[in-house]
Each structure stands twice: as C-alpha cells, then as structure tokens.
Symmetry: C2
Subunit: 513 residues, 2 copies
C-alpha cells in the first residue's frame, strides 16, 4: 500500500524508439522495407510538389564484411533524388528530430506524419551505431553534407561533421545510412513496392539496385505529371473547438461574416449569412469577442448546418484516367482494362477522391482476383485484411453478378487520395473503414466491373459467332451446291461473301476504357 507513483518524461524520439513497431520498424525485415519506402516517398513528394519529373536511384548493398553472414545483417542504403533539396540549416533537424517536418499541412502528400525520414535514421543508429550521411542541394549550386546521429533522449540532431561543395548543377537530396536488415525476407515486398510505385507514378524514372547487384529499372512512361497538390482551407464540417479557437486567434478582427468567407473552404458571402442566421449569430459580431460558451455553440452550429457546399477536389491531385491508364498499360499489359475516377467526396470535412483501375488478363496476370491498394500514391502492402478496400471487395462485391468467372485473371487497383488519409497506424499500412470512403469504393468497383462485363460478353458472343462461322463455312458449299442443283445450274452462288466475319460481328474491339 506504499510508495509514490514515479512519473517520467520522455522525448518524442524516445517514445518512437521504444515503440518502433508503431511506425513500421518492428524487425529487421520490416525495417529495411520501411526505411526504403519512407525515403522514396519523401523524394517523390519533394519532386511532385515542385513539378519536377522524378529521377530516383536507390541502392541496398552489404555493409563491408557482411556478405557471407547470416541474416539479419548490416546493409548500406543509399538513395538519391532530383527533388527540391533542403535548405542548409534545415537538413539536420529534418532528419534528426521527430515531429519536425514539412508535412503538417492540409495538402495531399505521401507523407503525413512527417517522421519517416527521422525514423529511418533512428533505426539505423540503434542497430549499427553508425552516423548517417545526408547531402542536399536546394539551389543547384552548393551542396551541404552532414554526418550526424540523433540524441534520442533529447530529440535533437547531434552533428559530427559538416561540409559543402559545388553541386555541378545537381539539385536534390542524398541519404546514406547503415542499418541491420534482412533482405532475404524482405526482397519480395521491396520488389512489389517498387513495381507498384511505378504503376501509379509512370512519370518517374526509378532505378533500384539490390545487394546482389541486380537492377530493377522502371522507366518513365509519360512526361505528364499530376498538378502539384495545393494547400486548402479547413471545411466547417470537420472542425473542432480547438481549431476554431486558433482560427479566431489568427483573425485580424472584423465581422464574423467576413471571418467565415476568408477562413473556411467553400464558404461564400451568401452561405455565410445563411449560416449565421441559422446559428443566431449577428453577422457584424467580431468573433474574437466570443466567450467560451458562444465558441462551443458556434462550433456545434458549424457541424449541424447541412447547407455548406461539400469540399471540392481542386486541392487534390488524383492520378486521373490518363496517368492511371499509362501506369496500368506499362506495368500490367492487360488484355482489357478500365479506369473509374469518382467525383470528389468528403469525410469529416476532408475531401477525398477514389479511383479504381481494373486489369483483366494479359501477359503477367495470374488466375484469381488480386487487390492492389494505394493511398496518395503510396502502395500499401501490409495488413490487407484490415483495409477498407479489402472489406468492400470481399463483402460487398459479388463477381457472379458481373458474369466474371471465379478464376478470372483480375487485378483490382484502388487509389484513395485525400488531404488526410485515415490511416490507422503511423506505419501507413491500412485505411479505416469510413462509410463515405466505402461508398465511393463500392460504386467505383461496380462501375469498373460493369465495363468488364460488357467486354466479356462481347468477347463471348464474338467467340460464339466464330464457332457459328466455322459451321457455316463447312456447310455453305454443300448448301450452295444443293441450291445450284435444284435450279439446274452448275454455277455456284458466291457464298464467300456471306461468311465474311464482318457482317456477323457486333463491333467488338480488343480494348475498351
């Protein structure tokens, strides 16, 4: 019955050091995979935000003397991009501090938690104790290089050496680190990761060299890039009291009607006035003078008012039909494909767009249904069973309704893009089953399957026609001869015209979209 309860404070680095499973760094195989993807995703974000066609080079090699050891063992990971680069003074903190990042915005990006790069450095350090080397050039003239570790207990970078030099026109970032990994157990996932990344990033050149010197090269298939994502204002439906308070704190002062139109997404003058009438707030009132109860009532009214326009998709950067199609054709070469891009929708005030691609048959498709999941252009490869796309596909879609055979060689590709993807883990493995997202997925999958059904039924009737033709072409000469005999002539009618495929076929083609 004795004793005080002892409290301790730990730093964010310390927290994720102790609980690295939460961020996808559970074991050497998983950690190697996670380190690669976090660095690749930072690179792609950095390129796309500045409309730079990405050139990525990633190499995993055995650390000196490790080649013949048993797994897990030390690997060296090098990644070079041609992104926007990081300003000199930001480099150490960007990679040496948890909760310090460029991703804390209402904007579509692969990264969201702003800690993947630092987690990779942290994991490298705790398994090999070797400093990481970061080189970056933001102006195309001078590069800055840091050799550094993280002081985990303090959550600050600890710089060992810095240098700079001429970059010869190169702009971008290079990361070089040593970590304990298990390539044997992660090789397949890593290859899948690159393959799937290429599928939704057909405008990138990506070269990956594995520890045995094998090159996986994904060549750019199109020069067209999606529009860079824009930052957006918050939508009134998703906002909480804390956020309203902050918006008011930043408000320069003046009537609440003006505050509404300048602070919120898609609120115009008329909507503002209608809403304020609904909320019984005089339009001329200055929100900076709201008391606490007024603030809460105002926020509740924001949630309760059902005439705000839904968030629009202009701040989102979906793949769209053209880029999605280019990726599918380049990576899957299917016999048939279709791409469905849904209209923007919203959950809790966050806009999102669902895109679904479907590939049928072709050179690399195995029999049976395969699901490929993407969110903000990240391939999601773990925990499929908990993901919303899996749930919709297995529970709400009946392939038989679309006359698709059970063992048809089918790939269903889902892409959800949003200013905030509702991941359930920091490791970004899977997406929560928000009903709004479920609905969009369901409709998109059904539409894609209906297109497949049309294709398959045409293909089926075409084959029936071909069979019919075979029979016709067998019997037609006999009928012709019989008819000729009947009218007492030796000259056979020209039946070849009749068995030309073109008059029986129904206008099918090998591709539909």
């Amino acid at each position: 019955m004795s004793g005080k309860t002892v409290f301790t404070e730990i730093s964010p680095s310390e927290f994720f050091y102790r609980n690295r499973d939460l961020a996808g760094f559970s074991n050497p195989s998983r950690a190697l995979y996670s380190a690669i993807r976090e660095i690749v995703e930072n690179s792609l974000d950095s390129c796309e935000l500045h409309s730079i066609l990405p050139e990525l080079y990633v190499r995993v090699s055995y650390a000196p003397g490790e080649e013949d050891k048993q797994e897990p063992k030390r690997y060296e990971l090098v990644a070079i991009d041609n992104g926007s680069g990081i300003e000199k003074e930001q480099i150490p903190r960007a990679f040496g501090r948890i909760f310090y990042g460029s991703k804390y915005k209402l904007r579509q990006a692969r990264g969201m938690f702003g800690m993947g790069g630092t987690m990779s450095v942290l994991y490298a350090q705790i398994t090999t104790s070797k400093p990481v080397e970061i080189t970056s050039c933001a102006d195309g003239e001078t590069y800055h290089r840091y050799l550094m570790l993280i002081d985990i207990e303090k959550n600050v970078p600890s710089i060992i050496k810095r240098e700079e030099g001429g970059s010869n026109g190169w702009r971008g970032t290079k990361v070089k680190l040593q970590l304990v990994g298990d390539y044997f157990r992660s090789a397949a996932k890593i290859a899948d990761y690159f393959r799937n990344t290429a599928l939704v990033t057909p405008y990138a050149n990506i070269a990956f060299v594995d520890p045995n010197g094998r090159l996986l090269h994904f060549r750019r298939g199109t020069d067209e890039m999606p529009e860079p994502p824009k930052e957006t204002l918050p939508h009134p439906h998703g906002i909480d009291v804390e956020a309203v308070k902050r918006l008011i704190r930043n408000w320069k002062g003046g009537p609440v009607s003006k505050f509404m139109t300048q602070t919120f997404h898609r609120v115009g003058g008329k909507t503002a006035l209608d809403f304020l009438a609904y909320a019984s707030v005089p339009p001329g009132q200055d929100p900076t003078r709201f008391g606490n109860d007024e603030l809460v009532r105002f926020t509740e009214a924001l949630h309760g008012y059902d005439k705000f326009l839904p968030p629009d998709g202009r701040c989102l950067s979906p793949l769209d039909e053209q880029i999605f199609t280019a990726g599918i054709v380049k990576e899957l070469s299917p016999e048939f494909y279709s791409v469905v891009v849904r209209e923007p929708a919203a959950y809790s005030g966050f806009p999102f767009i669902v895109e679904v691609g479907l590939a049928y048959g072709g050179k690399s498709n195995q029999p049976g249904m395969k699901l490929l999941r993407f969110a903000n252009r990240i391939p999601l490869l773990y925990d499929e069973g908990s993901d919303v796309s899996f749930k919709v596909l297995t529970e709400e879609i009946d392939l038989r309704r679309y006359k698709v055979p059970q063992e048809a060689p089918l790939v269903m590709i889902t892409h959800i893009c949003s200013t905030k993807v509702p991941y359930k883990t920091v490791g970004k493995e899977y997406i929560a089953d928000r009903p709004e997202i479920e609905k969009e997925l369901r409709n998109a999958m059904r539409e894609a399957l209906r297109k497949l059904q049309v294709y398959l039924s045409k293909k089926g009737s075409m084959e029936k026609q071909r069979k019919k033709m075979n029979i016709y072409s067998k019997y037609m000469p006999m009928i012709a001869r019989f008819s000729a005999n009947l009218i007492g002539t030796d000259k056979l009618p020209d039946y070849n015209k009749l068995i030309g495929l073109d008059i029986f076929s129904e206008g099918e083609s090998d591709e539909a979209s």
Copy 2:
C-alpha cells in the same frame, strides 16, 4: 521549380491532436469508449501496483440540456477509484502532457504508452472546450483538485483553479470531464468492455452507471489478487546498440563480467564468462572504454549467443488458474471450463505468458465459437480480424480434430501478459503475430480443447450408459420374473441394485478443470 520547403515543429500534443485516430479517438462513438477504458485502465493499474482491491465507480450522463438532442452530443464522464493517488505536483502534468507518465518501465501494466489519460482530457477539450477536473489524494488525508486545460501547441497543462481539502480517509483519483460522444452507438461496446474486464479482474468491484441511469454492477468474486508486477532488467537478446550504450553510460565502472551480471536479466557469473569468451572480450575490460565498433560487435554478440537463459516469468503477473477460473465461473457460468497457463516464453528479449480459458455451454453461451481477447488484463474489442489470437484460432485450430461440433456453444479466452505487449496501434486494439506468441497460443488452445474433448466424450458415453440403463430397467423385471419362474419360485430377485447408475457410470462429474 521554385520555393523553399517549409518545415514546422509540432508538439507531441499537437501531433496526437491532429492524428487522434492513431490513439483510438477517431469519432464520437469510439472516443467515448476510449476515454472510459483509458481512465478505467489507469485506475486498475494504480490499485494493482499497490495491492489494493479495486473499487471503481464510473458514470456517463448527459451534459445539462443535452438529453433530447441528437447523437453525437455532450456527455459528462466521472470516474472514481481507490488507487494509490497522484502526488500534488504531478497531477497537472500526468493529465496535461503527452509523453509524461508512470508507464515507461519494463514492467507489466495495462497502460504502456503513458498517454491515455491525457488523450481523454485532450479530446474532451477539443470537443467541448470545457476544463477537466482532476481530484487526487495520495496520502489518505488531503486531496488536491485541479481545474485545467491543455495548451496543445506547447504540450503543457494550463491550470485554471486549484484547491485542496480533507479527504476523510479516501485515497485515490477522481476524473470529471465533458466530451462529445455517441452513447447510442457505443453502448454495446462499453457494456462488453466492462463485462470482459470483470471476467479477468474478478477481485474488483466495478459499478458503471449509464446515461439512462441503468447500473451495471460487477461484484468482487474473490479477494485474491495477483502479485503486483515487478520491474525487470533487460534481457540480452532483445537489446539494441542504443540501449547497450545507455547501460554502459550508467555503469559505475569496473570489469565487463560484473557489468553483465548486474545489468542483464538472468545472467550469472558463469554465463557472463562463457559469453565473454564467445564474444572475445577480456572479462576484466571496463565497458565504459568500448569504442564504437567494439560496442556494435559486443551488441551483435549478445544477439548471437544462444546459451543465455530465457527470460523468466517472475516479473509477470498472469491471472493464473485460480483467478482466471473465478472470473469464468462468475461471468459465464459454463457447463464445462478449462484453463491452461503456459510456461513463460520470450520474444525479442521480452518475457510473456499465454493463458487460455475455454468455456462450454451454460446459461449465457450462444451456439458457435466466440473469441475473447485480453492483453495485460485489457479486453481487446476492436480489429479482431487482425489479431494474432484470431489468426491462430481460425487458421491453425481444427475443431473437428477434437470432436467438437461446429455449432457448439464455445467461448475461447486468450490472455497474453508481457512487460511489452506488441500492439500495432497506440489505441491498443490488436497484437502483432510474433511467431513465439503464435506458438504458445496454439499449444494452449490445443490443450484446452483436448480437455473439452475428454469431457464431451465422457458426457457422450454417459448418455449412452443412461440409454442402456433405460433399456435394462425396462427388461430387468421381465427377466427376473422369467428366472424366478424357471427355478419355480414366486420371489423375484432384487434387481434394483443392478440398475443403480453408480456401478455403470465411469466416474464423470459435471465439472472438470
């Protein structure tokens, strides 16, 4: 191609404010459930750590004027315990600061991330903007009460009012807050949560009053409590370079052989010397003088050496057969039950114990298999499909092998206790599929099912015997009369003795364990 990348630093509170889905506070229904469980779990940890028989009172009521509104709406949550209480100066930080807690130890506890209490306060604040009221008494004499909010951007408590007074002998903590919740959608989960908590905490008195004034009362079924969990030394197999560095930094100096025995779990003098020979480190060397490469090699040797004793379970506090049985009998009243407690095992150097209970039939059991999952005495109610217990039960256990009918009314209860439960989310919903844990679960489930098989087969043969007896007792009088006639007497032999069940039955009883 222009523009700097803008970096921002955010506080831990800010991070979890923005990403509250990660901590189980995704929406009003889930948040109400999470707030209750986080506070209840802190209370139970606080009692058990000091061997206090828990008395918990939890009440959810409509906030004033909210009763007739639509869900989600404002609720008041009050929770009172008789735990160890919190020292005056710790109270505000314990509830007002993320990454400040009493749970950052190598010790079995429900809490692990040390942020549940603060998350509940934070969620309350961002949905209702009302301060939380925390009252605690650590000495049984004076209570201290704080009315406070969290400064989320700074991650510090912001105290509005403090007071103190005589506690009249009460020791413990009381939390009172207002939050936006959805009781209608969470009522079933909350009731399940309390019911399942009572199942594995039969030594607690728990009273829950719902918004409609209904009382769920779980009365103490036993006064026996598990031993309080003890802190343990780290095991050499799970340790990383960073942790070894810290141990050496705290080492008072002196030979590495002594460092080994005083710093690591279950390393005695002989093991230390054998290991140092294996690692080619002279036993007299002072580890504080290790260079970086020596440190890494030393850590690698710790992982590679396979003769360390496995972690022992003395630092763990399983339910054990008696308490587990008391809980099952009290809450499920089954026709048959069995409890299997496995020997301690380890994953990545963390000790764990698997316990499995099985309940068959009885008053409240529905047909079909039901799985109840627990970890460090927390019921896990979400994401069953991703949990290791579900995986083992559905993929590796074949009920037919144990002659258990498909629709048998069966409850399988798994309890994993460890100094570090490998949760995959901060919300503690489900456990990763570590192979070591899978193996223990598989063996425990199989053993429990074998016991059920024995029971069912006895019950089956008993029923056969009863049927046989029915036939005997029908024909016996006729046989007796026939035999009497045969020897020419009118006096029938006393056949009643022969059909007494006791000589035919095989010693079954209604209960086995």
